[in-house]
Symmetry: C2
Subunit: 546 residues, 2 copies
Amino acid sequence: MHGHPDAVGLDQNQANHVSLSPLTFLERAATVFPYKPAVIHGNRVLSWADTYTRCRRLASALIRRGVRRGDTVAAMLPNVPAMFESHFGVPMMGGVLNTLNTRLDAESIAFMLRHGEARVLLTDREFAPVIRHVKALLGDQDLLIIDVDDPAASAGELLGSIEYEQFLLEGDPAYAWQLPPDEWDAISLNYTSGTTGNPKGVVYHHRGAYLNAVANILCWGMPQHAVYLWTLPMFHCNGWCFPWTMAAVSGINICLRRVDPQVIFALIQQHRVTHFCGAPIVHGMLINAAHFIPEGLSHPVSALIAGAAPPAAIIEGMEKLGISITHVYGLTETYGPAAVCVKHESWNQKSISDRARLNGRQGVPNLMEEAMAVLHPESLQPVPADGETMGEIMFRGNIVMKGYLKNPRATEEAFAGGWFHSGDLAVVEPDGYVKIKDRSKDIIISGGENISSLEVEDVLYRHPDVLVAAIVAKPDEKWGEVPCAFVELKEGALPSAEGILEHCRSRLARYKVPREVVFGIIPKTATGKIQKFVLRQRLKSTEALE
Amino acid sequence: MHGHPDAVGLDQNQANHVSLSPLTFLERAATVFPYKPAVIHGNRVLSWADTYTRCRRLASALIRRGVRRGDTVAAMLPNVPAMFESHFGVPMMGGVLNTLNTRLDAESIAFMLRHGEARVLLTDREFAPVIRHVKALLGDQDLLIIDVDDPAASAGELLGSIEYEQFLLEGDPAYAWQLPPDEWDAISLNYTSGTTGNPKGVVYHHRGAYLNAVANILCWGMPQHAVYLWTLPMFHCNGWCFPWTMAAVSGINICLRRVDPQVIFALIQQHRVTHFCGAPIVHGMLINAAHFIPEGLSHPVSALIAGAAPPAAIIEGMEKLGISITHVYGLTETYGPAAVCVKHESWNQKSISDRARLNGRQGVPNLMEEAMAVLHPESLQPVPADGETMGEIMFRGNIVMKGYLKNPRATEEAFAGGWFHSGDLAVVEPDGYVKIKDRSKDIIISGGENISSLEVEDVLYRHPDVLVAAIVAKPDEKWGEVPCAFVELKEGALPSAEGILEHCRSRLARYKVPREVVFGIIPKTATGKIQKFVLRQRLKSTEALE
C-alpha cells in the first residue's frame, strides 16, 4: 500500500517512526532497573540510575564546552567506567565516539586524531608516554584533553586540562538528550589498519549499532542481567557493540584494565560472570592458567571467540574448564562479528576433532545481518556449496559500516557491486556454512590485532641498508601469527638482524615489530611483484625442520 | 557526520542498507536448520525447508494469478499451516495479508473484504456458512477464493475455485522473492472493532513486524528452537507477530484449531511445548481442567497473558500447574503487546496477592518500543508517578501502526500531538510501572475479543420497540466481561427479553449478543448523554446482592 492511492494518511510521524538508536536501551535500563548494578570496577559499583545520570552529565558537559552535533570525541582508555559511559554520553549529544587502540604508537594516534578532527580526547595515566608525544605531534590542533584518573592505573602523568569526574560535574544530571534526527547518523568512528599505509576510519551509524547490540543477545541467548567480563577491549569495534548490548539486557559490566588470567578467574568467581569475549590468545592464556582454579568454575560460563578459527586444543581446553565456546566472525567494517558458527545439537555426539572442525568455521550471518555470501570477486556469482570452490566473503545488510571517513574511493571499492568485500577468501561447505581458506590481503593477525604488512615494510624501507622488504605471517602457537621480515640488502651493506629490529622498535608499536629477520634474495614475478606465497612456503619448510 | 562536509561517500547503498523485514528470518531458518520441524499439525510435520518452499510457491502462485504488489490477500483460517505460510508467502510477493476474525458475522467480513479491496480469500470448511453469505453480499467483487481443505476440519462446504495444495503447485518452488523496496511498506491489515460503528483497518509495516518479532524473543527470553503452541489466534494482530518470531528462533509451531484444555495439555506433553499465549480466559480454562494432568506437567512452560489484568486466582492457579506467567499489554495498533510487566527477582519473596497485584500492572514499554507514557489527554504533560493521577496511555515508537486504511481523519486523531492515543486511562506507580484504571472508550472485552458497545446498540436501536439502548460491560468469571443491555422501551411496547435477544442473535456474531436485558429508564445527563457509569454501578450493586 506504499505509494498506493489508498495510502493517504499512512505516512511516518513522531508517534510511529523513531530513530533506532542503542541510547534507548540505557534509558530503559535506568527506568526499569535503576538500582541494579550496571558497572563494577574494583570496589566501585555504579547502578543503572548512576550510569544514566553520569552519561547525561557527560553529554551536557561536552555541549557546555562547545562540542557540537557531528563532532568527534576520542578515547584512549582501558575498559574502565569512563570508557563505558563514553559509548552513551558522547552520542547522546550527537557526538561521534572515536575509540583508539591503546597499543598504537604516537604517530598512528596523532594521524587518527587529525584525520578524525577530534575535539576532545579522554585519556588514562597508563598512556601518558604516548599521549605526551601525540600532543607534540598535533601542535596547535584545538583538543580538549580530559584525564580519567583511575586509582587502578599504574603510575603516569596527568596531561589534560581537567579530570573526568570534575568534568562530569560541569554537566546537567537531568540533561534532556534527544535521539538522533536520523538513525543513519554516525555514532562512532573506528580506525582499521588496512593494508594501504594509512588507517581507514570506519564510520558506524545508530541503526547498525542498535541492531548489532540486539543481534549479540540473540546469537548468544543472553539472559536479562547477564554478567559480562570485559576481556575484549572496548576500543575494538566498540567492544563488538557489547556496551550497548549490556544496557539492552540491564546486565552487569565487570571492568578489566588488563588481560591477566589470575585476575580473570578471580573476577569470574567473585561476580559469577556469565559471558565474555576474546581472541583465541585470551582463551589460550586461560587454559594455560587452569591451575588458578583447581576445583574448576562454580557456574556455567559462555565465551565468544573471534579473530581466527579456534584450534581443537582451545575448544577442548575451554570445555574442560566448563566454558562453552561459540565462534563468531566479522570485521571492523561489520561492527565486529556479523557471522556466527551456529551450533547444531547433533554435533554434541561428534568427536572433539570433528567438533573443532565444525565449530572452527565462520558459519552463517547472524540473525540481523541480512546476508553473508561467498562470491566470485569480479562476477559476484555465488560459488557452489562444494567445500572446494573459493570465492570472497561478502556482506550485505544493516550491520555494515556507512563507509570510510573522507575516503570515498576506498568506500566505493569496498562496496563495489552492492556488497561489502571482506577480502577474506572462503568456501561454502555442503551444509551452507562458510569456511575461510586464505586472506586475499596480507594482513597479519597477531594476538587478535591486525598488522598491516605494508606499514611494517614501509619502516624497513626507511632503513639505509634495505633494498627490498617483505613481511609475511609466521604461524605462532601463542599469538596465532607473528610478522616475519624478509630483507634483501643493498650491495655491500652488512647490518645485523638486531640492528634492523632496533630500527623497527623505535618506529612501530611493539606488537608490529617483526619476530625475526631473514636475509636473502626476495623472489619476484617477471613484473617485479614480490611472491609472498613463496616466502610463506619457506617459513613452512623451516617450521617442519625445527 | 550526517550532512557534514566530511560525510561524502557515507550514503546508503545496497551493501549497507537493507529493508528490515521478518521475511529474512524464514530464509535464515531454512538455510541454517532446513531439516528441523517448523510446523506440526496433527500427524503432519513440515520442516523449515518445506515451509520456505511452500511460502515461495504461494508467493509465486499469487503473482501468476495476477495479484500485484500492494494488493490485499485475506485469510479466514484457524491456526493451520496455511495460515502460518500466509504470513510469509503473501508479503514475499509484496502483498498485504488481511487475517479475518473467524468469529465475525458475514456482514462484518464482507465490509472488511470490500474496504480492504481483497483480491484473494483463503478459507476453511468450518466457516462455509459465513463465507457463503459473504459471497452473496459481495456480489460482483472480483475475489479468488482458495479452500484450505484441512482434514481436521469439521464438515463444511468447499466454496472456492481451487484447493490450497493445488494452488501451491501452480507456484515456482524456487521463486526469487525480494525484500520490500521500503521497510515502511505495508505487510498486513488488521481490522479492529472500534467504538465508532465500522471496523478500522490497522496497517502494519515490515519494519514494525521485524522489530516486534524480535521484541517477543527478548521480552520472554525465548531460546532457539522454542516449541510454541498456537492457543492465540493468528488472526489477532498477526498472532502478536509470533509467526515471524518463530522463524527468527527456528522454533516449532504446534497448530491448534480450537482452544480445548484436554487437547492443549495433550499437545504440551507430547511436543514438550515451552511457550504459549492467550487471554485470561484461556488460562482460566486450563486451571479448571487440571484434572487432565493429575501428575502435573513434566517440563517448564511459559505463558504470556494479555487482554486484561490477570486475577490472583489465575496467577496462583498457573503457578500450581507449573506454568510461569508474564503479563503483557498492547493494542491492535501496537502490533499486539508493546508493554510488559517486567518481573523483578525481589517479587518472588512476596505473598501471592502482592505478586498478583504487581504482575497485574501493564508495566513498561518492551525493549524495542521506544516509549509508553501516561499523559494528560489534552496537554500531553506526563502525570506524576504517584499511583493516583490518571492520564491516558500513549505510545511512541517503531511498533506503532502506519495508520488506519482509508481513514485519514481517524489516523490523525489517533496520532494527535505525536503520540498514539490508546484510549486507556491509567496511573503511573512510584516504581514507574503503568497501571490501567479504566477505559476511556466503552469497549467490552469478552474472552479476549473486543466488542463495540456502539455496534450492539445500533442493532438494538433497529428493534421496533426500543427507544433508548445502552450496552455496558458486566464482569464475568469465565469471559472477563460480557455485554449487558439496558433498554428503555417505546410507550406501550411490551416485548420479552428473549425477543430482544433473538433480534440481536440474527444480526450479530454470537459473542456480541448481550447476556441479559434490563428494562427501565436509562439515566442521562442534562444534555441527553447516557450516563454509563451509573449503569455500571447498578450492575455492581446487583452483583453484590447475588
